[in-house]
Symmetry: C2
Subunit: 448 residues, 2 copies
């Protein structure tokens, strides 16, 4: 049952044109009728829609160019050998950073009209938020460096130990601006977290997994911003109605908080856009592979947003499936259990189903390894193959994808990615209930 | 006389270590004994030396990786067919931007200790030069985008008409910051100039030509900064000694001018470093080719410096040979004279000499074309091959390299690049005499 490769997915130009006009409306809207402190958000949505269109259009258009430049690969979980263009995450990353760069004047034009300070000469000049601009620019620099490094990884296939410094090098611009401003802005740079975010995302191997995760996490971050802003607005109104005098400091404080939480949708909206655009072409059966660039860049975008927006802890909650995958992988990563080069599920050509892939013990496992595996097996996290004597011969690989296959039985690739995405959504829902529900239990009822 | 390809040039580790210790001294020096407003320059020299070492070491080390990634080419002007690694300008560009990024805290730490402003609460806080930082960061963003686009050009071999928007896209960050700040800083962005600088540099085709030109132009810019600063210092001293009261405004003005002229060596010193490091491996016979990335990035660096440093006109003078080449090329660029795909000089394997390459007229040239060619021929800029009837059959290609070969006769490649570099140096000397000599004639003698 060898099938030929599927042709690229096409798009009706009517749909694209319709979308482009909606996008234009979002960009033009603030000019016609300025809405204080929200006009930036409108423009951001407009740019994101254009980024979505650009990704939808460019990914299939540039596919042949990538294949010609030796950037293609065979889909390991399919029965056809047609080369699929690889590293198209570069296109997403480029569209994403370009959208962010074009957005600069809109992100900062609002502030121009609001603050006016008096110079010693008595002239009122707009107080430009240079500090915020520096932070924005250094975030962009970090994202661009991540793009370069991710693409270099795709082209030159960098060895694992040479990859380690990549997230560190890429966060240098942010760090440097932090050093230069010496705490003038409130950037905290937890480097290990940043490193983690980049590598956590790379649990893929099946069509649509990397992009799907990124999409859900980005959406969760936007929702979190929305909830926080709504909560703040509500508390401001409540204090106004209950007769408590609203002093200038509080208003300023909440304004700053709103601005800080705007920083994060500015970075997340275009990310959602390019990820959904790419998802269309990366969905099972994939017409394009993301390569390493996408994982790196989305990881860096989350790190930037988490750090600049000061909600690293909430952000980590959105990574529950990735953290579970990382913890589960530890015995293989740290050499307790043998680790084959590829740990993607095994594809059965006859039934078209995926089975958990296995790691074989060439010599009996150590006492520690055996104990760990027995515990994992007790919780049905792995499936063990035993010798008659009770010695462990094989174990399923310790990844979240193999865990799903162990728990739910063999399934086809499309189903598996759906399970993964459901799990990611459940993780986000859990994260929200922990963040807002538990916070309500701890603080008094008013804060809920 | 087929010779095998030459092995990579090696470097004694004693030399590299010695250089590294000199570089460290330059970086440590300002910490031991701070020199106001010059400590940044010391650090810049230190970083540049490290960049020089990194380029010297990395170019041969990464050569095989580039060949493996299909980034290699045959040297058209040699008789051996061994692949030479191509696009190693990427290494230079990466080292260059990394050096600039690591330099951020040093470039702006000096200002921290000098300016102190009083807040309304009466606390003295350091007035951080956010505006200068934004300009620096946006310049870096432009350079990084140029690097990405140049490398994409190398990998995907972008078509000529798709290349046109590249310098425009790459200058968007600078433009955006300009729009965002709405003239708060004094950035002028002459886009056409920027475009010109990038493409002007690409007159190469012979080993060492691109890097050689960039090296000389960058050195000229640094010398120009030096002359300007010295001139200013001299005028300040003169006015002090001659009893003219030096008011605060003037001191401030000259301080700002010095800072502005420091901006340019901060960008030029590391460029000189990476170019000389690369020159060592690109010199005849070349062990590595620069690719498009280097031309783009050096062009962008000159544009950034010319625009931020406000001396576009002086900068253009340093491009005299490139402008001559461009003007000479016009009849071929605009279709008056047929233009073959490659216009590099023709290599004669037997004599090992280069001869001017020729463009053949398939049909008799138009009256205008013939007139232009006759004029060029009168000034010995081209060599024409005539039919007995006087109709032009062939002309040497209209580039500066072919012009040298027409004027000075066939020569080997090494000699030709030496002639080109001499010409570039003469151009800079002429530029300096125009800039300082003529300025002296126009203004009074004191200003000379």
């Amino acid at each position: 049952m060898v099938s030929t490769a599927v042709p690229p997915r096409t798009l009706s130009s009517t749909f694209l044109l319709g979308l482009a006009s909606v996008a234009s409306w979002f960009i033009v809207r603030p000019f016609l009728d300025p809405i204080p402190s929200l006009s930036g958000l409108y423009t951001s949505i407009g740019f994101s829609l254009f980024a979505f269109i650009a990704t939808l259009y460019l990914v299939p258009a540039l596919g042949p160019t990538f294949i010609k430049a030796h950037l293609s690969g065979r889909d390991l979980l399919k029965d056809y050998a047609t080369p699929i263009p690889e590293s198209l995450g570069l296109v997403c990353a480029s569209v994403y950073t370009l959208a962010l760069i074009l957005f600069i004047p809109f992100a900062f034009s609002d502030s121009l009209t609001i603050h006016l300070t008096q110079t010693p000469e008595g002239i009122f000049v707009p107080e430009f938020p240079h500090s915020r601009l520096s932070v924005y620019l250094s975030s962009l620099l970090s994202l661009l460096m991540t793009t370069i490094l991710g693409f270099l990884d795709d082209v030159f296939d960098i060895r694992w130990r040479h990859k380690l410094p990549i997230p560190i090098i890429a966060s240098i611009p942010l760090l440097m601006v932090y050093f230069a401003e010496r705490g003038n802005t409130h950037i905290v740079v937890p480097l290990p977290l940043r490193f983690l975010l980049g590598s956590l995302l790379n649990l893929g191997g099946i069509n649509g997994s990397e992009v799907g995760q990124a999409l859900i996490i980005a959406t969760s971050v936007i929702l979190n911003d929305l909830f926080t802003s709504l909560g703040q607005l509500a508390s401001v109104y409540r204090s106004t109605f209950s007769g408590v005098r609203q002093n200038a400091g509080m208003a300023y404080g909440s304004k700053e908080l709103v601005e800080r939480h705007l920083f994060s949708p500015y970075f997340m909206l275009p990310l959602v856009a390019v990820c959904s655009g790419f998802m269309y072409h990366n969905w099972y059966p994939a017409r394009a592979f993301p390569g390493d660039t996408l994982c790196y860049v989305t990881g860096m975008a989350f790190a930037v947003v988490g750090i600049q927006g000061h909600f690293s802890k909430t952000l980590l909650l959105f990574f529950l499936p990735q953290i579970f995958n990382f913890v589960l992988s530890c015995p293989q990563l740290f050499g307790l259990v043998p680790c084959p080069r590829h740990r993607v599920p095994r594809f059965d050509k006859v039934t078209n189903l995926l089975h958990p892939s296995k790691a074989i013990f060439m010599k009996p496992p150590s006492k520690l390894a055996a104990t760990v595996l027995w515990i994992l097996s007790f919780f049905k996290l792995v499936d063990l193959t035993l010798h008659l004597s009770g010695v462990i011969l094989e174990t399923t690989n310790l990844t979240i994808l193999n865990f799903f296959l162990v728990r739910l039985g063999p399934m086809n690739e499309k189903k598996l990615v759906q399970v993964l995405i459901c799990c990611q959504i459940c993780g986000s829902v859990l994260a929200f209930s922990v963040r807002y529900g538990l916070a309500g239990l701890v603080y008094d009822g008013d804060r809920r």
